[in-house]
Each structure stands twice: as C-alpha cells, then as structure tokens.
Symmetry: C2
Subunit: 303 residues, 2 copies
C-alpha cells in the first residue's frame, strides 16, 4: 500500500469553522506517525473514525500552542481506552518539562509509558529509525526553534510471483529470503534466478513536513526530490510583509520551495484564520508550481 498522509488539522493558531490547528498522521507501511498535535486532534480522529493502534511516535515541530495543546487530551484518552503500547514523543526538551507535570496530575496510573525523546530543532539529523522508515529533522526558520521532519521509507521487499511459487513448489520458509533478492535452489540443484521469481518493489517514498517556517532555501538540499512536501502557506502574497515579520510563508513561497526542490507534489496548509476559503492561496501556489494541492482537514492524500 502506498504511504498516505491524513490531515487532522491544517489551520494555523486560531481555529476556524473549517480548520483545526496542526496535526497529521503519516502512514508508511505498517506504521502510523503523528506530526504535531494541536487542540482537538483526538476529536478529529474520532470524527474520522480513525484507528491509531499502530501509532507509536509523535513528532513535534515546535512549542507553539497550536502544535501541542492536543497532546494532553490525546494521551489522557489513550489511557481511558486502555492503550498499553509505549508512546514516544520527539520534541524540544521543554515539552517534557511542560507536559510531565500535567501527565502526573491528570493521567495518574496511565496504562502505558510516555517516553520523551529530546530533539535539537537546529540540527539536521536522524531522529528516529525503525525497520520501515527513517525520520530526519529539518531545521526551519521561525520565532522559536522549529524543525520539520523528513520521512524516508526504507527499501521494500521485492514482490514474489504467486505463479512461480506454485510452479517451482517453493516452501513458505524460503519466501522471505527470496523477497529480499535470493535465488531459489531446486531439490535437484538447479538454481532459479531471483528475477524469474520476483518483480520490482515499489520505489520507497519520501515525505517532508515543513511548518512553521519563513521562506528558507536552506531546506532545499534536505528535501530535494521528495515525493510529497507539506509546506506551510499561512498567507497570500499581499500579506508578504506580515509573513516575513511573523516568520511564516506565503503560498507562492511554499510553491517556490517545491519548485526549487523538485518535489513530486506540494500540499499547502497552516492557513491563516483570515481566509474564509483556500482558493486564493491555492491559486497563488499553482501559478508557481502546478502540482500543488491545498490541504483540507479530515482528508487523506497519497504520498
């Protein structure tokens, strides 16, 4: 299955009728990864009927309220739903200082562990790795230390051909190795080359989340060629001065980054509450980079 991005909230600091604050879930292979957790994240999950049993890691871009105020409610509800799996939170160190006293007070006897991993938002480095995915931080340019996240899917196994399994009578225990590229030796010693047994796997996908940030070309070498880029587009061009002073981006700037980084597609979000609809933002981005989509809350996008 192709990786997906589920947008729970793509508004900015002030929630609106349409948009909750920032939160999204990256689904890659068999796992779910949350990025940011604004107020109402758990409500959006409920509204979507989303199951998050495979969510083990939450990545927090920066410590502004619209990216973290949903954490305590989410964790508290996980407790009531009897989650037992560890929950890992990757964030700047101050988050633990703010959240731990709340966990101690409001979530006594939580049936799972909340494990904080301190990240340095100023560094571009590997912050998490498992058998499917590598996650790197992307230093951004904002009023407080802020970093995006780059998700790189690891190489997938080759697809084994069902008809070849039958034809050569391949035992089940040999299949994992063949998927990884091994040849198959018949009982009579004949070697069946792997290329006859398998087909190419899908190319590993990559996704970059860049919010909140002013326009910054420094991120381009890091996100170069990703399949999908989510870049904040808080303002339209006529608010470019305000974008600069508040260290946010315009839609056209997001698209310029997408263009220069040669990404597969761009998803814009983090819309200012001043916009009643996103057409203006989308059109300004499309004028620069045509493979642009405007995010919508409770929507799922292929990465």
């Amino acid at each position: 299955m192709s990786p997906t991005l589920t947008i729970l909230g793509c508004g900015s600091a002030l929630p609106t009728r349409q948009h909750f604050p920032s939160s999204q879930i990256v689904e890659m292979r068999d796992k779910q990864y949350m990025i940011d957790c604004g107020e109402g994240t758990q409500i959006r999950m409920r509204q979507m009927g989303l199951k998050v049993a495979r969510l083990g890691h939450i990545f927090i871009s920066h410590l502004h309220g619209d990216h973290v105020f949903g954490l305590i409610g989410l964790i508290s509800s996980f407790g009531m739903l009897n989650r037992t799996a560890d929950l890992h939170i990757h964030a700047a160190p101050d988050l633990e200082k703010m959240l731990q006293p709340q966990l101690d007070f409001f979530c006594e006897g939580l049936p799972f562990n909340v494990i904080f991993h301190h990240i340095n938002p100023r560094a571009h480095e590997l912050v998490h790795e498992d058998r499917s995915v590598e996650v790197y931080s992307i230093p951004l340019k904002h009023r407080v230390p802020s970093c995006g996240f780059l998700f790189r899917e690891k190489a997938r196994d080759r697809h084994i051909r069902r008809d070849m399994i039958d034809f050569y009578n391949i035992p089940t225990w040999r299949i994992p190795k063949i998927k990884q590229g091994e040849n198959f030796e018949m009982p009579d010693g004949e070697i069946i080359p792997n290329e006859r047994l398998t087909t190419m796997p899908e190319k590993p996908k990559s996704y970059a989340y860049c919010s909140d940030t002013a326009y910054s070309e420094k991120i381009i070498p890091i996100i170069e060629g990703v399949d999908c880029l989510y870049h904040e587009a808080t303002f339209m061009q006529n608010e470019a001065v305000r974008a600069k002073s508040t260290m946010h981006s315009t839609a056209a700037q997001a698209a310029t980054i997408a263009l220069k980084a040669n990404v597969g597609k761009l998803i814009i979000g983090h819309y200012s509450a001043r916009y009643n609809h996103k057409n203006g933002l989308l059109n300004e981005a499309l004028a620069v980079f045509e493979k642009t989509i405007a995010a919508e809350d409770m929507s799922v996008y292929e990465i």
Copy 2:
C-alpha cells in the same frame, strides 16, 4: 432578555462525533459566564460564531481533563485576539499550579490578566457576585473534589411605561430611580405613584449546574426550585453499577433529583461515549421527570 444556556460540549471524558467534552456559557443580563472548559471549547465557539466579549468569569467544577483541557487554548487565543479585559478563573487551587507554568511558557506577553480565585469544592458558599448575579458553589460527590454552580439572578428593575414617560413628560435622568421603584413628583408637586408608571419586572431566574456527580440528595436543598437544572446523566439505568463505581449519575437519577428539587426544567448531559444517540437516556429521564431536555452541543436553551 431571558437568561440562556449555550452548550458548547455535553459529552463526557471521551469526545465523540457529536459531543465535545464539557463546556457551557450562561448568559444572564449583560454578562456571560463559562462553566468548565474541555478540549475544543474555543473551536465550538468558533463553529457557533459566538462572540464572548462579555465573558469575564470561568467556573471550573473539578480538575478532570475533560473539564479543563480547553483552558490553555482558549486563553492563548484570547491573547491573539487582543483581549484586554481581566479573565477570572474560579477553581480548586491545583488548577493554578497546573496552568500558570503553561501560561508563562506558551502565552508570554498576554495582553490581559488571568486572575485565579481559589474555591473550596467541599463548601456551599458564594464564590462570585456582581450587580446582576450571585454564584454559589454546590458540593458534589465525585472521585475528586467537585462542585456544581448555582447562578441566581438579582432582582431586575421594573419596566417603565413609554406612554407614561410621554404623558407626564418625565425627564431622562429620573428614569433609573423610577425603574427602581420611586414615585415621580410633578413640577406642581403632584405625586405620581410608581405603580402607574411601571410594570413588574421579570422574576429573577436561577440556574444550577451539577456535573460531575454521583446521585446525591444532599444537593436538593441548595437547588430547590431553580428554573433550570443541568445535571449529568452519564449512563442509562442498565449501567447503574458502573455509574455508582465511577461516581456518575444515570439519566433516571438526574431526573429524580430534578423531581425532588422541584425544578422548572432539567437539561441532561455529560453522556458516555458508548451511546450513539441520546434517546435512551432522554426516555429514561422523561419517565421520571417530564420537563426534561437532552442537551446537544452548540445549542442554546432558555433558562
């Protein structure tokens, strides 16, 4: 205008598609008072297009997350919207301990004061008074110290008759006193009795909020005869054992309290997430007390 109750959220701990956690706004005369502030309260306000310029006081029943997790986001957004008026929060002392560090970290430079007033949830006492309203705490029976709130509107001014103002040529500056019951002296010394100039004001209204609580007849003398009672009804009767062990009420218990306290009407809420619709809860309450309404998020009720 008759006082109103705006339900922002009437769910219980776990939010559902229909119901956000607890929060409501009592509007009495020219003021708004919030009771409880679960996650998403500010979102509901936005969704309703609610203006809260006359909101100065928030009353917190108890320190469970579903009654307080929305405070930090609400206050943070008030700051971004350049609120300048003081915001008073009435709650058990631990709330200040939990919230102040978050305010210091996330809401630096807030353009208004957040003033905490410590209340003792175990006492029935006056917790707030202004020229329109008196607010009393109502000790409840829950797993943590919890209190409801009784709002008593003060006596209103009499209505002055427009035709009498014209007939007797009453100068504007005399009107406030006449509304308060004074007679009017004509230039020639003739006394016009107040009853000829004014009509009776509306009877002051009263409202009681009782959530979260197990069934407790101790509250009856306090809420006796209120115009409107909001009482939690987390469970249906077949979950009465669970209601008791978690210190919540069933719908029938809420209605029994309403009946015994001879209230004008009952609004039930704080529904468990297990119920997909509230008909069962409402029917069980109606069987005991017929003037029952089942609360709905984003609805406004006359008190």
